[in-house]
């Protein structure tokens, strides 16, 4: 593995947080993982506002797992915000949601998502997904440099 790219998991459902963490661990992903639970918090974090100003403690992620249904600001709002900021243009955003509505898929790509994944129902399938993710995004993918 190359540098330890930080992963941000944006998810408000604690069960899904637990299962995702478990799957990533099962897949052997060792990267630093930040979990944030609502859209406003995510934007504050990415903008480095307030308590998140310290980039040593709160580094910018290279990859964001983004749920669409979030409190306060939706996943689409977060995605739109990220893509409106040129300094974050290399950030990989993977939508991870339980919705397979064609309209959601379409909107996500239109707003600049790099990938769209539907949460699989079983632990095994989730772990398969985490493994595939690791293989592709963490081992083969070249990242743009993350601004400090």
């Amino acid at each position: 593995m190359k540098t330890r790219n930080t992963i941000l998991l944006v998810e408000d459902n604690e069960d899904d947080i637990f299962l995702m963490k478990r799957a990533l661990k099962g897949a052997g992903v060792r990267n630093p993982l930040i979990v944030l639970e609502d859209g406003e918090q995510v934007i504050a974090y990415l903008a480095g506002r307030g308590e998140y100003a310290d980039r040593e403690k709160h580094p910018l992620p290279s990859i964001v797992f983004l749920d669409l249904k979030l409190p306060l600001q939706s996943g689409f709002d977060v995605l739109r915000w990220i893509r409106a900021h040129r300094d974050l243009e290399g950030m990989i955003v993977v939508v991870l949601t339980s919705s397979n509505e064609p309209s959601d898929v379409k909107s996500a790509y239109a707003l600049g998502a790099n990938s769209y994944l539907v949460k699989p129902p079983t632990v095994d399938q989730l772990e398969d997904l985490a493994k595939s993710f690791k293989g592709y995004w963490l081992e083969f993918n070249e990242f743009a440099e993350v601004p400090a």
Binding site: L19, P121, V123
Partner: protein, 515 residues
């Protein structure tokens, strides 16, 4: 020269002079002279008289010959008048027609009888005049007068002093005044108070040589009521081309005005109704789109929110089974497996309900599809079908149908899944797919060797949750056929079944044929 001779000469001279003066006077009056001698029946015609009859000058002709010139219809009357005058020793004055060449000519004749001492008629003398032109002019005039008189429009003539000179029956009908009442009055009596200045303006335009056509205005009747009229006015010129008056044609357009008004009113009403209808449609459409939006957000939240607890149930069961396998006894593992299966079934149910609502409400276009392609696709994507692929036989080639791909996929996947699923234990499925044309539709048939459906159950199977067998025996949500039915109907087709318990089933779908 003796006195007598001189007198005689003077008398002869005087006579000659008199005769020549007489001929001059006749010529000036375009008159022809004639005389008839009763004893010889010879008629002597003067030069002009010869011309009137179309005869050569100095011709000799008898009265009997002349009768042949007379127009047959006038013969009896003419003869009667002449005979009567001769008997009464009075003058006669008559007009009759004669054949002159190929044409008829009108002639006026005046004359009187000459008598012997004993009173016998010895002849007649008189003059004739060609009155053909006058008669023709009279006829045209009377025809015109008849036209004017019988017109529905008011036709009035007036002098520049606005005094009415003629007044037809149409004018009487429209304005209520008789000709006797109107002639001699000023036309201003027809003009209502508020339009007093109209007549002077019309006169001014007229004097400028202008014709006024279809000028719509209002006139007042004798009884004071108003009438809508359309006026056409042209100047009347005298022989020297001076304007001496005006002819006015007034058409009663009150009926037209009334229908115009009625039409305008009807149009306004129609507009109003159309506006109301549009408002209503807009309101209903708004409410409907609100409902649809609510439904959409409902199904969205079903797909998103209701499935996430299921994932948690499955996830934690899996996690327990994996992470704590050592601490779990077989009963605990069995319970966890049951939780997982129940969660899985619930997930399938939610997915099917969503699929059903999508089939029921979605918008789509029908496009030509080959069912074969969809069947191949379904066989490759559905794991349960992949195993039974060798038992499914398609009797191709299949004709193209007009369909929506997702709906056609729903139908074929549900029917094939059922065909594979509902077989007696230990029997290999045997499925035949075929098509045939029927009444302009394509009938797609899927025949199986399965357990069949008793007739009393056949009605229920297409209803949502219309299950015949318990989930324990044959797993499923009970929504598949309802989805297939809805999909077929939304594509303008239908679905049905032929089956008997224990003897297999044939499901058939009618689909539109692609042209």
């Amino acid at each position: 020269m003796g006195d007598t001779e001189l007198r005689k000469r003077n008398a002869e001279e005087a006579l000659r002079e008199g005769a020549s003066r007489f001929q001059l006077a006749l010529a000036a009056g375009h008159l022809g002279d004639w005389s008839w001698d009763a004893t010889t029946d010879v008629v002597h015609l003067g030069p002009k008289a010869c011309e009137i009859f179309g005869l050569a000058e100095n011709c000799l002709i008898t009265r009997s010959n002349l009768r042949e010139f007379l127009y047959a219809q006038d013969a009896v009357r003419t003869r009667a008048i002449v005979d009567k005058a001769l008997a009464a020793r009075s003058d006669f004055d008559l007009e009759f027609r004669i054949h002159r060449g190929r044409k008829l000519a009108w002639v006026a004749a005046r004359g009187r009888g000459t008598y012997s001492a004993n009173g016998a008629v010895t002849g007649m003398v008189g003059v004739i005049l060609d009155i053909t032109e006058r008669k023709e002019a009279d006829e045209i005039r009377s025809r015109l007068a008849a036209v004017v008189e019988s017109s529905d429009d008011a036709i009035i003539s007036m002098g520049l002093d606005t005094i009415i000179t003629t007044w037809n029956r149409g004018a009487e009908r429209i304005f209520g005044y008789t000709a006797a009442e109107a002639v001699g009055q000023s036309v201003t009596m027809l003009i209502p108070n508020h339009a007093e200045d109209e007549e002077p303006r019309i006169l001014k335009r007229l004097l400028g040589g202008e014709r006024i056509e279809h000028y719509e205005t209002v006139r007042q009747r004798k009884d004071g009521t108003l009438v809508d009229v359309s006026l056409s006015i042209s100047p009347i010129l005298d022989a020297s081309g001076m304007i001496v008056g005006a002819s006015k044609i007034s058409r009663d357009i009150s009926e037209k005005k009334r229908s115009e008004q009625a039409l305008r009113k009807a149009q306004a009403q129609l507009r109003e109704h159309a506006e109301k209808l549009e408002e209503l449609v807009a309101e209903r459409t708004f409410r409907l789109s609100e409902t649809i939006q609510e439904l959409e957000s409902f199904s969205y939240s079903v797909s998103h929110d209701m499935r996430s607890p299921l994932r948690a149930m499955q996830g934690y069961s899996d996690a327990l089974l994996e992470d704590y396998a050592a601490q779990l006894d077989p009963t605990a593992r069995d319970y966890l497996e049951r939780i997982r299966r129940a969660a899985h079934r619930m997930d399938l149910l939610i997915q099917d309900v969503l699929a059903y609502s999508k089939v029921a409400k979605g918008e789509f276009d029908l496009k030509p599809f080959n069912p074969q392609a969809v069947i191949t696709d379904v066989l490759q994507t559905y794991p349960t079908l992949e195993a039974a692929r060798e038992n499914i036989r398609v009797h191709g080639p299949l004709p193209e149908v007009l369909a929506h791909e997702a709906y056609l996929t729903q139908i074929i996947s549900n029917l094939l899944s059922n065909a594979v699923k509902f077989v007696p234990l230990g029997t290999a499925p045997n499925i035949q797919i075929s098509t045939r044309k029927e009444n302009g539709m394509i009938r797609l048939s899927i025949k199986d060797n399965g357990i069949g459906i008793a007739p009393e159950h056949q009605k229920h199977i297409f209803q949502i949750f219309g299950r015949v067998y318990s989930t324990k025996k044959y797993e499923g949500t009970g929504i598949g056929l309802a989805i297939a039915k809805k999909a077929a109907e939304r594509m303008g087709g239908s679905i049905g079944v032929n089956s008997e318990a224990g003897k297999g089933s044939e499901f058939f779908v009618y689909l539109k044929e692609a042209q």
